[in-house]
């Protein structure tokens, strides 16, 4: 499409900036194979001991499972809550649909530090701090706007004629939705699932306000660990997380196209 040749200066500049952008992710890989007790770069000796060390660390494994279960629950709830809402706003178009969709996506405009403080104060009154339901509620506040936005876009771009044909042929509205609409918006559903899972799994600011010694998510446990000591354990954990993220991104790219899902 673009005929203009890319000049050498731009190529070199872009390369340098890519190195800068990816440096912190690349540098954790060699550190995760360090044999030192403390973090130095380059490591003075090599070993594989930090990977098994993750699984022996009770705090980290507990936090990991909390995060996984939390992300799954939050993703499922986000789909269950946002899908009917998106369908209603796009297909039924009730009065004030636009105002409502901006209201429902407004939490994304608020800085998470302000949102975190706001829910800390309210949730404390209802005894929701450092509880699993409290974490679910806090994460839903940020995943729902994403889910609503992606699903509403997916629904709005579906060709209506197919749904109307099915309805004309006698299918009930629920059958049309289940047999026609849902299969056709598969890529939107996959994108939403991936996005909600990653947003919940990586969420750290709201979780920091909501967790306590009783319950911790993985990013929070890592944050506290790094605050105390930056040993290679976190590097090994980071490598595992980057691999997990890349897997999710690849799945999304294969099934629905990365650009379509994340770049609007």
């Amino acid at each position: 499409m673009d005929e203009r040749p890319v000049s050498l200066t731009l190529k070199l500049l872009a390369l340098a900036m890519f190195v800068f952008l990816l440096a912190p992710l690349i540098v954790v890989v060699p550190i995760s194979f360090s044999g030192d007790a403390y973090m130095t770069f380059p490591p003075t000796s090599w070993s594989l001991k930090w990977y098994p060390a993750i699984f022996k660390d009770g705090t980290m494994t507990a936090a990991f499972w909390t995060s996984i279960v939390l992300a799954c629950v939050v993703t499922a709830l986000s789909l269950l809550i946002a899908l009917p809402a998106a369908w209603c706003l796009v297909r039924l178009k009730p009065r004030g649909a636009e105002v409502m969709s901006s209201l429902f996506t407004a939490p994304l405009l608020l800085p998470t530090i302000v949102l975190g403080l706001a829910i800390l104060i309210v949730f404390a009154r209802f005894g929701l701090l450092a509880t699993f339901p409290g974490l679910v509620a806090a994460h839903l506040i940020v995943t729902l706007p994403y889910a609503l936005r992606v699903l509403a876009t997916a629904l709005a771009t579906l060709p209506l004629a197919v749904e109307e044909a099915a309805a004309t042929l006698g299918a009930s509205p629920l059958t049309v939705f289940r047999r026609i609409t849902l299969p056709m918006m598969k890529s939107g559903l996959i994108g939403t699932t991936a996005l909600c899972f990653l947003v919940s799994f990586d969420e750290v600011v709201l979780s920091l306000f909501m967790t306590g010694p009783r319950i911790q998510t993985l990013p929070v446990a890592m944050y506290h660990h790094v605050e105390q000591q930056a040993d290679p354990l976190v590097a090994a954990l980071s490598v595992l997380l980057v691999v997990l993220t890349l897997l999710v991104v690849l799945v999304v790219d294969r099934t629905s196209g990365l650009a379509k899902t994340f770049v609007k």
Partner: protein, 294 residues
């Protein structure tokens, strides 16, 4: 995709009301409930909280007072905190723009699989936890990190890159780059290669083409990216906390400390409202700038 949207639009806009007010309420109730309980109510409560009284012992009483606001205005620490937050965030925004522009321009000019790979490389950091990326920066910037061990190997003196503003600036710049790149790319749509070509055919040297054609056409994208990054820089606190090591004082880190460590919620709430005020100011500047550009 656009063809499908075009086909669907006339049918979709046909009024379909009357198919049940009750159904709409039922479908929207769950999301409205989460929104009200997790967003509207807490934020309104935050505004109220900033007027609550705090006794010298630290206990909070539900008595309305302007004491917290008065303290913020009279205590010069908070004035410096605000000024420091704004200047540091502005510096980070500018650096982010300078680092992101070449990548965005290069991405805009590439195509096919190569472009997809590059896009994945840009988006992947965005999907990786800020804690992981900040840890990577600790590995690079700490006293026994990549840069300082490299300097030592060359026989040069070590420099302090962490627990100060340098470290926070470098780390946040990198962390915000994906947002800037995506915002710039969204704004690059107006960049028609034929105009650039025409300019160079007419004898303009590459830098002149950049200054007179490319830069003016991409200004809306630049403005959007800068607004986004400034807002994110003002409110981020994971990276300033870890790379600043408690020695860099910004609005966001102070809100966290007041809320979690000192437990002075009225003060934290008031500082939050000030952050929102800074956001409002940035938004006003952005709309002004956009009107001047367009």
């Amino acid at each position: 995709m656009s063809a499908a949207a075009g086909l669907a639009a006339p049918i979709a806009s046909a009024p379909k009301r009357g198919s049940g007010f009750g159904l709409a309420v039922a479908l929207l109730a769950p999301i409205a409930l989460v929104n009200a309980a997790g967003f509207l109510l807490p934020v309104l409560n935050l505004a109220r909280m900033s007027f609550y009284e705090v006794e010298p012992t630290g206990t909070m009483r539900e008595v309305y007072t302007l004491a917290t606001w008065a303290k913020l205005i009279t205590d010069s620490f908070y004035g410096e905190l605000l000024l420091n937050s704004i200047t540091v965030s502005l510096g980070i925004t500018l650096l982010t723009l300078l680092c992101s522009y070449p990548i965005a321009l290069y991405l805009h000019r590439s195509s096919g699989t190569w472009k997809t790979i590059l896009l994945v490389l840009v988006i992947s950091p965005l999907l990786t936890s800020a804690v992981v990326r900040t840890y990577g920066w600790i590995a690079i910037l700490s006293d026994s990190g990549l840069v300082n061990n490299g300097l030592a190997a060359l026989g040069l003196a070590r420099i302090r890159l962490m627990f100060n503003q340098i470290g926070v600036t470098i780390g946040l710049t990198e962390i915000l780059m994906p947002y800037m790149i995506l915002a710039l790319l969204a704004g690059f749509g107006r960049l028609d290669p034929r105009i650039e070509e025409a300019a160079s055919t007419l004898g303009a040297p590459p830098f002149t083409v950049f200054r007179r054609i490319i830069l003016p056409l991409t200004l809306p994208g630049i403005a959007l990216g800068c607004l986004l990054c400034f807002v994110l820089a003002v409110s981020s606190f994971i990276t300033p906390k870890l790379l600043g090591g408690g020695r860099v004082f910004l609005l966001a880190t102070e809100i966290y400390d007041q809320a979690i460590v000192t437990l002075n919620w009225p003060l934290a709430a008031t500082l939050s409202l000030i952050v929102l005020g800074v956001f409002g100011g940035a938004l006003v500047l952005y709309t002004r700038a956009l009107r001047a550009i367009m």
